[in-house]
Amino acid sequence: MNKIKNIITTVLFAVLIFSVSAVCILKPQGEYSPGERRALAKMPELSSETLFSGEFADGFEAYSTDQFPMREKLRTVKALFATGALGKLDNNGLFASQGHLSKLDTPQNEDMMDYAANKFLEIKNKFLKNDNIYFAIVPDKNFILAPQGGYPGLDYDAFTEGMKSRTQYMKYIDVAPMLSLDDYYKTDSHWRQENIVDIAGHIAKEMGSDILGEYTINTLENPFYGVYAGQSALPVKPDEIKYLTNDVMSEFKVTYYGSGSPEPGEMYDMEKAFGKDPYEMFLSGSMPLLTIENPNAGNEKELVIFRDSFGSSIAPLLAQGYKKTTVIDIRYMQSAFIGNFAEFENADTLFIYSTSLLNNSAAMK
């Protein structure tokens, strides 16, 4: 028995490592990991320089890991083993609770909060001439999930107070009490546009504006696996993206300044809706600057929104109350240059940011 067992063990091991090795060598290189939403490492260039500097070895380690056959399935095996057999409450910092996937919060970072607040102050001092400056913080869904599930999380009240004390020249609009878990996608960090109509109405009211509030709910025919689905590698059901339209919004004239010069765009980018990250359908995702002109506003008011990705889905709702809305993302453009593109005279200004960005604001320029 032992003899046979030894032969089987040896042969199986040899077959496994040699066959996997052959597949590793022969398999064509993949380009992109849809789950992790990132480009996969490629075979590094081999030269005496890269060899002796260690660059080739480092590059090959990344390449061999990224290009490993059936990697996505193995990531799921690992995630299920870690959370199932080992009972870990999170996998790679992501956890599943109440049907939602979420990411463990990073500790409150005072330096990053200062950095964000200083950026806002620079913008205020340089461009904003009136007092119509408003500030809303979108809490991460952990503000509900973490305390209920016993996960370590930010003290969102303390965080909000910290940001408010740093930005006392702005009028703070509290949206947290209006948010429930259902207002967030289950597999993604973002909020759902169809569930934030009341929040948009509340913000508009605080800014002295009025928006319609009647919408047609449209459903995107593309399953939405949010950013957490891929990162966690856990098998989950996809979300559904719903987006709102009405007669006023259908008349919007949207102009993108992605390349610096104006280009006509769509409020809902259907190309991106079927792309790598369907949430980017809202105002075309990562866009440094865009304007929404509303011929049916019935007033001459203008709104400037400084925002992160949470702003993409609420901006079209808020734009109903203004003749022109300028939407700026200072992660993708230097804040010093925004005067070249936006008109601040007599405009309302709204800073709307998620806690995760404010707590990790290094990307703000």
Binding site: N2, F13, I25, F52
Partner: protein
């Protein structure tokens, strides 16, 4: 290159196995030498020349020591070998430590050398020293074939994390060794178990340690949780590496010494060190402690001998004061046990285990630090110094999240699993063994493919 990497498992290892078993016997050592140098050069492309120089110098010195054995010149050549090997170790590993302390004492500001430490230098230096010392003592013959000596020094299975294999232990195997399905299967089993210990258990415990370091919500209990997790992480990482080394050795026909034997079931600190990093402990015993007179000396000299050996043991682990203190901490317990506690510990059943685990846990608080300041802070945290709360939310979360693994690791660190396995019908274990092994290999591969946390802990050695 790490054993726990895709590049090793599915590129390097298959290539070396194929080549090794394809060539005739006389060329096998050359294949091992070349592949070992390639393995080392992968991570240390420049320092591989240092290793080659070390092999060549000690090859010549070994022959010279043998030629003049019994004559004063032999001692001179041994002195040169020791000076060369320890000089390299001193320069690459300890120079900045000495400069920093010199600057502190004198108030001068001599510039640091900031040299990267060649991986595994502490291991292969001790292997080379064991060779030249044993040639000097006449315990082994000088190796006339530089390829054979090179294969011994550079042998990739134990190159970067031990065990410290003595030349005398593998002298015959370097000339003639047998290969069989039995040895290969034993090696494969040992290798996969070691890989699983490292990748699944040690690395996951490492995540807990990282979470502790990153936490802004520390507490006394969180410090203790960290220290226990760290202690188990080091055990599973280090013994996992040793298992992989021993397993790979068996595949290539070698029998390396055991390096760990359930250290946490020890009933005294002396026993703990007979079960923990056995190859290092026995190296210091045979090449430092016994030549100094060992136990057969007066009490004062014995105290000096113990302190010297444990000072060196601590210093071997890293060029920081906390490692020296860590070594001397054990010296104190070893002396206490030798002179006072031994008989009490033997009688105190149960309590003796608690005594070992408690003081070993404290030692890992010191060991985990990157200097004495951090070590004192860790010890302070464990005993509630400052205004540290007793319990914190992050402690509770991490205990819940890592609790099952901690239990698995704690049980796995004892012979319990083997005992249970031995009680099961052999037919059942025979049937289950192969599927279990390959499931473990697939899960370990899944962890590696995921790019999960995979630290290399021996960069300081």
């Amino acid at each position: 290159m790490l054993f726990s990497s895709i590049s090793f498992l599915y590129y390097f290892l298959p290539a070396v196995i194929l080549l090794y078993f394809a060539v005739p016997k006389p060329i096998k050592n050359a294949v091992l030498l070349v592949s070992s140098l390639a393995f080392y050069a992968w991570g240390e492309p420049k320092y591989v020349f240092l290793m080659i120089a070390s092999i060549l110098v000690n090859y010549v010195l070994g022959i010279a020591i043998e030629k003049f054995r019994g004559k004063p010149l032999s001692k001179v050549f041994l002195g040169i070998s020791a000076l060369f090997s320890l000089g390299m170790l001193g320069y690459f590993k300890y120079a900045d430590f000495f400069i920093a302390n010199f600057n502190k004492i004198t108030g001068l500001s001599v510039g640091m050398l900031k040299i990267a430490l060649p991986i595994g230098i502490s291991f292969y230096t001790f292997q080379i020293l064991s060779y030249t010392i044993d040639v000097y003592r006449g315990n082994v013959a000088a190796q006339k074939n530089p390829i054979t000596l090179g294969a011994y020094v550079a042998l990739f299975p134990q190159l970067i994390a031990g065990p410290i294999v003595r030349y005398s232990d593998v002298e015959l195997q370097l000339q003639t060794r047998t290969h069989s399905f039995e040895k290969a299967a034993l090696g494969i089993r040992r290798f996969i178990l070691g890989l699983a210990k490292k990748v699944i258990i040690a690395n996951t415990l490492g995540e807990l340690c990282e979470a502790f370091h990153a936490s802004g919500d520390k507490s006394v209990l969180f410090y203790w949780l960290f220290v226990i997790a760290y202690m188990l992480q080091i055990y599973f990482d280090f013994s996992g590496y040793s298992d992989m080394a021993i397993g790979l050795g068996k595949i290539f026909g070698f029998d390396f010494m055991e390096n760990f034997c359930y250290p946490f079931i020890s009933r005294s600190i002396s026993e703990f060190w007979r079960r923990w990093h056995i190859s290092l402990g026995s190296w210091f015993r045979d090449y430092v402690y016994i030549p100094m007179g060992g136990n057969r000396v007066g009490k004062i000299r014995l105290v000096f001998n113990i302190l010297t050996v444990w000072f060196l043991t601590g210093f071997w682990h890293g060029a920081e004061w906390n490692f020296i203190v860590w070594g001397l901490y054990f010296a104190v317990f070893l002396m206490l046990e030798k002179f006072v506690l031994a008989k009490y510990l033997e009688r105190a059943k149960g309590l003796n285990h608690i005594y070992v685990l408690f003081f070993v846990a404290i030692s890992f608080g010191i060991f985990s630090a990157s200097g004495m300041g951090q070590a004192l802070s860790a010890l302070g945290g464990m005993f509630g110094a400052g205004e540290l709360p007793f319990i914190s939310a992050e402690f509770v979360y991490n205990l819940r999240s890592f609790g099952p693994l901690l239990v698995i690791a704690a049980v796995g660190a004892t012979p319990l699993v083997t005992m249970v396995k031995n009680k099961l019908p052999s037919k059942l274990t025979d049937i289950l063994e192969i599927p279990v092994l390959f499931v473990l290999l697939i899960i370990a591969t899944a962890y590696l493919a995921d790019g999960s946390f995979n630290p290399f802990l021996y960069f300081r050695f």
